[in-house]
Amino acid sequence: MSYTIALAGNPNCGKTTLFNELTGSKQHVGNWPGVTVEKKEGLYRKNKELNILDLPGTYSLSPYSAEELIARDYIVKEKPDVVINIVDATSIERNLYLTLQILETGIKTVVALNMMDEVEQRGDQINFDKLSKSLGVKVIPITAKSRKGLDNLMHEVEEVAKGDIRPTQISVFHGKIPQIIAQVSSVIQEENEQYGNWKALKILENDQQILDSLKEDDQLRVTQIVNQAEKEYQMDLEAEIADQRYQFIANITKASVVKKSTGYTETTSDKLDKVLTNRFAAIPIFAIIMYLLFATTFSESFLFIEGLQSPGVWLAGLAETVWGFLTGLLEGVLVNASPWVFSLVIDGIMGGLGAIVGFIPLVLVLFLLISFLEDCGYMARIAFVMDRIFRKFGLSGRSFIPLLMGFGCSVPAMTATRTLESEKDRKITTIITGFMPCGAKVPIFAMFVSVFFADGNKTLVTYSIYMLSIVVAILISLFLNKVVYKSGASNFIMELPKYRIPMAKTVFIHGYEKIKDFAIKAGTIIFMSTIILWLLSNFNVDSFNGKNAAASDNGSNLAEMDDSFLADIGNVIAPVFKPLGFGEWRPTVGVITGWIAKENVVVTFAQLYDDDVTEEYLETFFQKYTTEELSDFGFEDGVYDFDTAFTIYSEVILFEGQDENAFHTMKDDIKTKAAAYAYMVFNLLCMPCFAAVGAMKRELKTWRLTGFGIFVQMTTAYLVSLMIYQIGNLIGKF
């Protein structure tokens, strides 16, 4: 026999901690159908009959968000065998409010009073037997963090699961309420029987979802009863019910909880908060923490120390070195393989997997840090401090983190949207994070700005692009909020949890799950799309009829990129970009290869404008450098050689915008400054690289929503670039 045990409780009551302690590391993370909310399941370590499920945190069974609706629907519709209701004993009153509502559903419940260590530390005392009698269910004290009381708890849960111990009915309500409940109950009798009076109660609470689920004539009858009662007794039922629940709670806590000190007492957490959200210090402290978050993940000169790599960069470098070594080994094995097999394995498969490998350390480092901020309670303060600004854009202050991280790399940035509280915010933030000028887009700007804006203020042009990305992100966020999600006035009724020291174990389990999930879900997309583009850029029709092989000196059937299927595709699509000023096949192919990785745009240009990047050109170009400088670039012993020159030219010189005269013939395709600017902006805003699309799919869960996100990005890119080119052209005419 197997039993489903659901963990329910307020946010921050210790649910995840308890879940981890009960299930160990064997967890299955999925998602609830159709929403961007994670669903975690696992078997109880000590009894595999018990399947434990972590429900989203909720304050009440009157759902307020997608998360809360899931928790409630699960409890009343799916009906787990037992609900473990975790109660944070340090704010017992608010926590018991949910407990009462769970009990109203009549489901088998065991209450776990968590954080008992803190209760004892304060010197408060709780009489568990009394509390248990008042609630009509077992109440077990635990300290999830140090596993205290867990065996006892699970023993009780097992008894309840196997036995037939229903909660004892308790009478929470008084006055006219029970009578009105009975009236409504009798109308909806057959629909109500399995819930006791739960549905009737929700109808009194004006719960739209429950009302809608009734038969039409029942709906009319119950609304009539409710309206009449409100008029007759001059009361507001909804408010009265909440009030009576809290009255009941006040009475039972008075009887079973002895507080050492009554009224407001300042805890260590409060003192800490006085500093962290202080009027003057809050913003500087916030800025420092954000800098550390960013720098630890992405910085090449960590803590402003020249050449000191941050943990994220160092690990990513290490992963890439190891991957490079493996690739090297494979190259050795494959020397005699046919050119297309060699290219498939090395450029396609190893290249595709390598892209995933390089991102994993960044995702991991950022994730460990974010889990820490989240679990210690600071994340809620970010929302508190930033709310004033972000509410204007229809977002939560917490959106700041993914957007900031987007300046480094949108892959970890998008995975960071998990910390956002509302599903709508998560969707919008994930989509607009794609607009951020990530590190890989910088070479595109550097190259174009140096070639087209050599005579102007290069810094200003680059800066304007950064600003533009922020403005576009804000506008699109507003648009999605108003038009697509039609969200009305937002509000901000949020608990500021106590600061607590997170457990390393919880933080690491988070991090581990995140990269596992990323590697599988995002990895598949990254890998597949890299292979497809490899196929398109290395083959043409003649690859398959022997013409390529006959023409090549080593019998290779591969095609050059400017002769490949990809070039054909570029030719077909190019006219679409005519109104944006770069409707030629080469820039179009650049956009497409940019989806493998944005910096590829530059490398692709070097390959496609090969009339400009000739042997002579490179030789002349590098002549002006001293031996020392050449060696700094990466030439062996500072001696120029053509083979290395191409790589250094495309990946160093162009990336850093050091050749103002690059690509003469490019100016036949992209003729004006306006067109060049439009091209930069298009690459900035259009679909991000496949790795980011993988991360996007990972967060948005469905293909439909991911497709919608890409559609928004592409349309935005097109329209903004169109405007820039057309307006730029007009101005150019004067």
Binding site: R94, E238, A239, Y264, A282, R388, K498
Partner: protein, 72 residues
């Protein structure tokens, strides 16, 4: 007087909470019901939202929401 009018450090007792609707529901679900003691702890650095202590925990809400909560 409403909760919005309290300065940090001041306390009051809730009398009633604004208009029917999901926001009021939420406010009440979070424990802000008639008769409860509230104490304003602080105002966010940018002037909004505010932080209050109620039923032994910290709750933050915006001034527009606070202005719907009648207190004495």
């Amino acid at each position: 007087m409403t909760l919005k009018d309290l300065k940090p450090g001041q306390e009051g007792t809730v009398i009633s909470i604004g208009e029917k609707g999901p926001v009021r529901r939420r406010i009440m679900d979070m424990g802000v019901t008639p008769g409860t003691q509230v104490k304003v702890i602080k105002v966010a650095p940018l002037g909004d939202p505010i932080e209050i202590n109620i039923r032994g925990y910290e709750l933050s809400l915006r001034k527009t929401e606070a202005s719907q909560i009648e207190i004495e």
